[in-house]
Symmetry: C2
Subunit: 251 residues, 2 copies
């Protein structure tokens, strides 16, 4: 059996996420039942004429995007990687692109072999939307004190119990994660919040971003006490999904 | 009468251009008859309850985008500029955004008052498309010798007769234009070709870009002799519309 790693770029706007999550579907939050995973699996099955199971580095929610999601699958095919890539890109819809196909060692696992991930959250700070990237930003029509949120974001770096940033209802046993880096970059009307960590709790980036913006507006006081509280109720809102993008998975 | 200037951002993918051009429609090249101009005029008529004629800095073709197209119109309305902007953005489709509405002097004319324009052409140099900006780039799957095209592009700067870059069939009397600046920037897989001039002939940017890419691949020899020939047949292909974006109009 070969073990093949895919790197995948997708615009998540029209999908109910990497994989349909039942509790989300029940809440009626997903616009469609079409998932990134099932869309790629269907095309792979067609090309390889065998049943393939894709395993991603992790799920992404409805409306969340990826510059470089990774996934692996086992196959008996003799097709070359470049042929598989070409066939996938020919048959997949335009909003899913396979940027690389590689043979990897049999023990490579897209999720368990990952050592860290980089997410980017993008905020558009103006009162009107964008004709180009409306589906890729959170439009936030208030002034942003960039130095203030940079200062507060520093308290996230390091190994902490991030229970305050886990969506209520989700139950990850261990809520301790290590954040390696938080970088906040302003480029005209856009603000990029880049977070790299060894792992992320469910909705962690989005609730961190929502909390930073609540601190920005003075609705919440400081990040340090919110992290220490280990209580989701002390943190801020969950920023909307479309601003979130999985940028890279590190192995 | 007030004279109002609009600054407009649009994703031209779904439109047959700023204004339907009859000779294009006859050739069957436009996918839809919906134009940017008529879409905005219809909403303006609705908001202002009067018949408004929009005049742009110039037309853009089907599939061409704008970061900051400009247009003006005369009106008797008493609505404030910010109210007009808010109403327009509320009623316009998501791919057209009004980024500014300003009262200007009665003699301001979006086209005739313009002193120069900046166009950007974007090339994606990889074999597969992009999930995010497939509608905004020319995908060019060949290696690009960036120094070579930078060197050749230098011959465009200055006042020249650009007849070689005017679409055959178009008949602009005077084909002399002044190009102030050509800048070519590579950012990973993307190449931006920025051209600023006091005016552009029909399809001028797209045929300059096509010619540069033909020079890149060795199909054509040098820009200097092509400019001097004043003959469209000596120049290269016309690059596809979706890579083109009107970035700014200078007054």
């Amino acid at each position: 059996m070969r073990n093949i790693k895919l790197t995948i770029e997708y615009d998540g706007t029209l999908y109910s996420g990497w994989q349909t999550q039942n509790h989300l579907r029940l809440k009626g939050r997903s616009k469609s039942r079409k998932t990134i995973q099932s869309t790629i699996e269907n095309v792979l099955n067609l090309i390889l004429q065998e049943h393939v199971n894709l395993t991603a580095s992790g799920r992404t929610d409805a409306g969340v995007h990826a510059r470089a999601q990774t996934a692996h699958f086992k196959t008996r095919t003799k097709f070359s990687c470049s042929r598989i890539q070409f066939s996938l890109n020919s048959l997949l819809p335009r909003d899913i692109i396979i940027s690389s196909v590689k043979d990897v060692s049999p023990d490579f696992h897209a999720r368990f072999s990952a050592v860290s991930k980089w997410y980017r959250y993008t905020i558009l700070t103006r009162t009107y939307s964008s004709a180009f990237f409306g589906n890729f930003v959170w439009r936030y029509p208030y002034p942003v004190d960039i130095n203030k949120i940079k200062k507060e974001a520093r308290f996230l770096v390091g190994t902490h119990d991030f229970k305050s940033f886990q969506t209520s209802g989700a139950h990850d046993g261990n809520t301790v994660r290590t954040v390696y880096k938080v970088e906040i970059i302003r480029d005209k009307d856009l603000i990029y919040i880049d977070i790299r960590a060894n792992g992320f709790l469910y909705n962690m980036v989005r609730s961190i971003v929502g909390t930073l913006m609540d601190i920005n507006r003075g609705k919440l006081k400081d990040m340090k006490s919110i992290v220490r509280a280990k209580d989701r109720k002390k943190a801020g809102i969950t920023a909307p999904p479309q601003g979130l993008c999985l940028m890279k998975v590190y192995y």
